[in-house]
Symmetry: C2
Amino acid sequence: MVKFSKKLEYALISLRHISNAGDEVTRVRDISEKYSIPHDLLAKILQKLKKENILASSQGINGGYTLSRKLDEIPLSELVSVIENGTSIVECMHDEDNNCLINDSCTIKDPLSKIQNEFENILKTKMISDFV
Amino acid sequence: MVKFSKKLEYALISLRHISNAGDEVTRVRDISEKYSIPHDLLAKILQKLKKENILASSQGINGGYTLSRKLDEIPLSELVSVIENGTSIVECMHDEDNNCLINDSCTIKDPLSKIQNEFENILKTKMISDFV
DNA sequence: ATAAAACCGGACTAATATAGTCGTATTTAA
DNA sequence: TTAAATACGACTATATTAGTCCGGTTTTAT
């Protein structure tokens, strides 16, 4: 029901690897081979991290990735929202016009939303460095 | 990525309805019609709740469900683990013998497990009555 | 120039998880 | 004995996630 995706796991693995490499640039191939992660899939993930300014990239024959920000300054919530498309735990029963199908009696969504908020707060307080 | 299933929502709706009905037995059909939930699907959910001793059932023509336990004594975590098959947020990269594929370098799982623990603690502290 | 890298987007397939259906048995009040 | 209910497993359908493939462009050390 509630679980993180492979993509998030791949991202964490990559960030740890790149972090450990220090100033040396890391190629997608280095990571994909070492951890048996599909190259093309991983490449897309790292591109997203670059757009989010978590990674810096250099092109050309000796190109690759380095960290752009310190991992203790990046909350896990940021990584999650970059990798996944949206973080909603709760989805109400609604029709295509977003009208609630349970009409006036729906008091389920709000309480579940509170759980989602608490969950997101956990993600906000945890920095990526906590996982590396 | 992280969200609750329809089944959990259906279960909460049903528990609230049955709770409001007091001593009167509630048929699956009552709930499925009122909230537009597929009858057979809902029936299975309520059967699971009966096995977990959250609901009591009576068969036969005037049969139906009533509450078996008070809703303020049932943590949401119990409902989740009954409805979903397991509550694991984190799944490690492992082969069919459960050996970690990242060998010695895998330190991703443990930290993510901590998040899962915190999440489960939230579910444990919330009673079903908080959502009804 | 060439090779190897990031960069880009989209369409596609495959695998998995969730949602929902169907058929049939069992129970029981009337 | 019949109708209406729960009980239960096998099945199909849909949605989501994971991964592949294509067809490139741009950059840069050698």
